[in-house]
C-alpha cells in the first residue's frame, strides 16, 4: 500500500452524463434508449448513450449509424455542451461542500481527497454516500462513486458497480478486488502494451504480480515501474485541486432567446454570485472579469476588464461585469442565446495587501458577502438574495 495509508480518496463519475441530462429535461426520453451527438440523419459519432441504449450494445465514440442499426428505436439528441457544463458546475459545487481538494478529470468526473473532511463530516463511507445523495437530491442525476486509499483504486472502484454504484476499497480488501481484473484495466495499458502482456501469458492483475520489478522495467521501461506498483495497488499521486484554476465561470443557455436586458442583468447578478461563492470558498481573489454573450445568430462575443487589485468582493466584481454588459448593450444588439460571466487572473488572498483609503467600504462589502455565504451554507442558496434578483 502507499506510504500514507490513511488517505481517503473518492472518485465520482456521473452515470451516462450527457444522456442523463437530456432525459432529465425531457420526460419523453426517460426510460428510453437515448443517443447523444451527431445529428439525427445518422452521421457523426455517439458522444453518450443512455443505459437503455447501452443494453443494445451502443456506446460512446461509436459511429451514430452503427448505433442506430443496433438500436433503431433510440432517440437521437444533438449534444448541448453548454447545458452539460452548467449541470457539471452544480455537481462540482456540491462536491466542494465535502472538501476543497477536488481534481476535475473531465466534465463529469473528479477525484476528491476527503482525508481531512472525516473529522468534520463523519466516516469516509458516510461522506461517499452523502455525496451521492446530495447529487441525486439537487440534480436528479446519479453518480457512481469509488472510495479507496488512492486515486488508482478509487477510479477502479467507481467503475465496478455502475450505474449508481458505491464501491469501497480498503487496505484490507484491495487485493481481492484487483486480482481478477483484466490487465486491460491497468492505467496506461493500451493497444500497444496489451498484446505484450498477453504474449507473456498475463491476463489479470494477479498474473501481472508474478513479474518482478526488474522484469517489468525491462519489458516496459519507466511505464513498467509504474505498472509494478499499480498492480499492487500502490499509487502515491496526490489529488491536485482546482485551486490552481485559471478561471471560474458560470454560463447559461436560454431555452428561448432573451431580449429583455433587465432579465439579462439579473442573470449576470445570479451568475456572478455563484462564481464568487466558489471563489471565496477556495479563498481566492480575482482581478479580471469576463463576460460572454452569444446572440441568436450564434455569434459569440467575449469582453473582459482587469481591476487594479485582486478582490473577492461582489460589489466590485459585479460592477466590472455590469460595466462590460452596459457597454455591450449600447451597441443595440439583438436577442441573446447564451450569457456567462467569469473571473480570471486568480490568486490566493493570502499575502494580499489591504488598501488604506477604502477600508470602510471594503470592510462593509466583505462583511456583507461573508454573511450571505454563511446564511446560504446554513439555510440553502435561496434563503437570501440581492435586492435586484428576479426570481423565476
Amino acid at each position: 500500500m502507499s506510504r500514507r495509508s490513511e488517505r481517503y480518496i473518492l472518485h465520482i463519475d456521473m452515470d451516462a452524463f450527457f444522456a442523463a441530462v437530456e432525459q432529465l429535461g425531457n420526460p419523453e426520453l426517460q426510460g428510453q434508449p437515448v443517443l447523444v451527438g451527431g445529428d439525427p440523419k445518422g452521421r457523426g459519432v455517439v458522444s453518450a448513450a443512455s443505459y437503455e441504449a447501452r443494453a443494445f450494445g451502443c456506446h460512446s465514440a461509436m459511429p451514430m449509424a452503427q448505433a442506430l442499426r443496433l438500436c433503431p428505436d433510440a432517440a437521437v439528441v444533438r449534444s448541448r455542451i453548454d447545458r452539460y457544463a452548467e449541470m457539471s458546475g452544480e455537481v462540482f459545487d456540491i462536491a466542494e461542500c465535502f472538501t476543497p481538494l477536488i481534481e476535475p478529470l473531465s466534465i463529469d468526473e473528479a477525484f476528491l481527497d476527503i482525508t481531512g473532511s472525516t473529522r468534520l463530516l463523519g466516516p469516509p463511507e458516510k461522506i461517499a454516500g452523502d455525496l451521492k445523495e446530495r447529487v441525486r437530491e439537487q440534480t436528479q442525476l446519479t453518480a457512481s462513486v469509488g472510495l479507496a486509499p488512492n486515486k488508482f483504486l478509487a477510479k477502479l472502484a467507481s467503475d465496478l458497480d455502475k450505474p449508481d454504484g458505491l464501491v469501497v476499497v480498503t487496505p484490507q480488501n484491495f487485493q481481492d478486488v484487483l486480482d481478477p481484473l483484466p490487465i486491460s484495466r491497468l492505467w496506461g495499458v493500451g493497444k500497444a502494451t496489451l498484446p505484450r502482456f498477453e504474449a507473456m501469458g498475463i491476463h489479470t492483475f494477479k498474473d501481472a504480480r508474478r513479474l518482478t520489478f526488474e522484469e517489468m522495467a525491462r519489458e516496459f521501461g519507466s511505464a513498467g515501474e509504474h505498472f509494478y506498483q499499480l498492480v499492487r495497488g500502490i499509487d502515491d499521486r496526490e489529488v491536485v485541486p482546482d485551486r490552481q484554476a485559471k478561471s471560474i465561470s458560470h454560463e447559461v443557455t436560454f431555452a428561448t432567446d432573451v431580449k429583455d436586458h433587465d432579465h439579462l442583468r439579473s442573470v449576470i447578478l445570479d451568475q456572478m454570485d455563484h462564481v464568487l461563492r466558489r471563489l471565496r470558498r477556495q479563498r481566492l481573489v480575482a482581478r479580471t472579469v469576463n463576460l460572454k454573450i452569444r446572440s441568436s445568430d450564434f455569434k459569440t462575443i467575449t469582453r473582459s476588464t482587469t481591476l487594479d487589485t485582486a478582490t473577492d468582493r461582489m460589489d466590485l466584481l459585479l460592477g466590472a461585469a455590469s460595466g462590460l454588459f452596459e457597454a455591450w448593450q449600447r451597441t443595440r444588439p439583438g436577442a441573446v442565446r447564451l450569457i456567462g460571466v467569469g473571473v480570471s487572473l486568480l490568486g490566493t488572498d493570502e499575502g494580499q495587501q489591504l488598501q488604506l483609503f477604502e477600508q470602510e467600504a471594503d470592510a462593509r462589502g466583505r462583511q456583507l458577502d461573508r454573511t450571505v455565504d454563511e446564511i446560504r451554507d446554513r439555510f440553502g442558496d435561496d434563503a437570501i438574495g440581492r435586492g435586484t434578483h428576479i426570481s423565476e
Binding site: G351, Q353, L354, Q355, L356, F357
Partner: protein
C-alpha cells in the same frame, strides 16, 4: 566667455545640475547645462521641463562674461575626473575649451538662446525652514509616495503649512507617511498646500547646503520655488487632490508595542529573507514581552525570529509587507519605535518620535 573656477565647488554644483538634466532626450536643451558668466558669479541652469534649477557658483574669476550651452553629463564627468584645484573654461566659436594642468578638452556647444528663461525668486520667500529639518521631513515621507498618481496614490509629497508648522505627507494607497516640523519664519502669504513631485522632493533633500542653512520657500498655486545655499529650484506641482489623510490615521489602536528601532530593523531584515513575490507577508505574533516574526516562501523555506519588546496586551497576529516596515525604520532617527494596532485587518501606526507618524495597512495572513 572666459573664466577660472574652483573645481571642488564646481563638482558639487554640476552633480546637482545632473540630477535635473535628462540623460536621454530627443531635445538637446534638456540634456544641457546653461553656463552664464556674470562679472562676479557663474550661473549654471538645467531643466527637465518639470523642475528647473539655477545654481550660483561664487568661487570664480570671470575674465569675459558670456553664455553657452553644453551637455551637462559630459562637463560633469570632466570636472569630476580632473584633479586640479582650478580649471579654466573658454568659448571659442562653437566649442567650449576646458583646461587643467596637462589636460585640454573641447566640447561641442549648443545655441544658448534655445534655453528657456529661468524664474527667479522675487521678494521675500513665503516661509523659511532649516535645511536639516526640510531634508528630514522629505526623507520621512518621500519613500511612501506612489510611482504613478491614481485616486489615492499620489506621485508626490503633500506640503501643508498651518501657522508655523510644515506637514509633509505621502501615500501610495497602502501606507501613509507623515512628518511635521516647525518653520523658522513666515507661513503667512503662502498657498496652504501643494503637492510636490517625487523627483523634485528627492532633489531638495540632496541639495548641497549646510544643515543649518536657511531654506526659503514660496508656494504658489501652480509652482513651488525653493532657495537653499547656491541653488534656486522651481518645480511644477502634481495636480489633483491629496486624499484626506487625517481620516485614515486610526485613533482606536488599543494594543501598543514598543521596541528598539535597530532591534526591529535587524529582525525584519532576517525574516524578510524568506519571503518572495507570492508571499510578501511577514507574520508578526505578539505575546507578552515578545515579538515573533515568521515568514514562509513556497519551495524555499521558512524563518522565525523572536525579539524582546514591551507589550502587555492580549496576544495577536498581524501580517505586513516587510519592505514597508523596513522603509520606515531605515529613515527613523529615534532609538525606539511604537507600533500601535487594533486588529489583523486594520492599519498599524508606527510612531517614531513626536513628529514622524507612519500608517501601514497589513496583508492577509493564511488562516492558521
Amino acid at each position: 566667455m572666459k573664466l577660472r573656477f574652483n573645481r571642488e565647488e564646481m563638482v558639487e554644483a554640476l552633480g546637482t545640475i545632473c540630477n535635473v538634466a535628462v540623460s536621454r532626450s530627443p531635445k538637446d536643451v534638456l540634456k544641457c547645462v546653461c553656463i552664464e558668466a556674470q562679472p562676479d558669479v557663474l550661473l549654471l541652469s538645467a531643466t527637465d521641463q518639470e523642475v528647473g534649477l539655477r545654481y550660483s557658483v561664487v568661487q570664480v574669476e570671470v575674465d569675459e562674461p558670456g553664455r553657452t550651452l553644453v551637455v551637462a553629463d559630459t562637463l560633469g564627468k570632466i570636472v569630476r575626473e580632473c584633479d586640479d584645484e582650478l580649471l579654466s573654461i573658454e568659448t571659442e566659436e562653437a566649442m567650449l575649451h576646458v583646461r587643467g594642468v596637462g589636460s585640454h578638452f573641447q566640447i561641442v556647444t549648443h545655441d544658448p538662446s534655445e534655453f528657456p528663461a529661468m524664474p527667479t525668486m522675487e521678494g521675500e520667500p513665503g516661509f523659511v525652514i532649516g535645511h536639516a529639518l526640510l531634508r528630514r521631513l522629505i526623507e520621512w515621507t518621500v519613500f511612501a509616495s506612489a510611482r504613478e498618481s491614481t485616486r489615492y496614490a499620489i506621485n508626490g509629497v503633500l506640503w501643508e503649512v498651518e501657522g508655523d508648522a510644515l506637514t509633509m505627507a505621502a501615500t501610495d494607497g497602502r501606507r501613509l507617511s507623515l512628518g511635521r516640523g516647525k518653520l523658522d519664519s513666515g507661513g503667512l502669504s503662502t498657498v496652504p498646500q501643494v503637492i510636490v513631485p517625487t523627483k523634485a522632493s528627492t532633489l531638495f533633500a540632496r541639495l548641497p547646503a549646510e544643515p543649518e542653512a536657511a531654506v526659503g520657500v514660496t508656494m504658489a498655486p501652480n509652482r513651488l520655488l525653493l532657495k537653499a545655499g547656491g541653488a534656486l529650484v522651481n518645480t511644477s506641482l502634481v495636480e489633483g487632490h491629496f486624499p484626506k489623510y487625517e481620516d485614515v490615521i486610526p485613533t482606536d489602536c488599543d494594543r501598543k508595542m514598543v521596541v528598539g528601532t535597530s532591534v526591529l530593523l535587524s529582525a525584519l531584515k532576517r525574516a524578510a529573507l524568506l519571503t518572495n513575490e507570492e508571499s510578501k507577508g511577514v507574520r508578526l505574533s505578539l505575546a507578552e514581552g515578545e515579538l515573533t516574526l515568521s515568514s514562509r516562501a513556497p519551495e524555499q523555506g521558512e524563518s522565525t525570529v523572536s525579539i524582546p519588546v514591551h507589550y502587555d496586551s492580549e496576544p495577536m497576529e498581524i501580517g505586513f509587507n516587510p519592505i514597508f516596515l523596513l522603509d520606515v525604520l531605515r529613515v527613523a532617527d529615534t532609538e525606539e519605535v511604537t507600533l500601535a494596532l487594533k486588529a489583523a485587518n486594520r492599519p498599524g501606526v508606527l510612531r517614531l518620535g513626536d513628529d514622524f507618524t507612519h500608517v501601514v495597512m497589513p496583508v492577509n495572513l493564511a488562516s492558521a
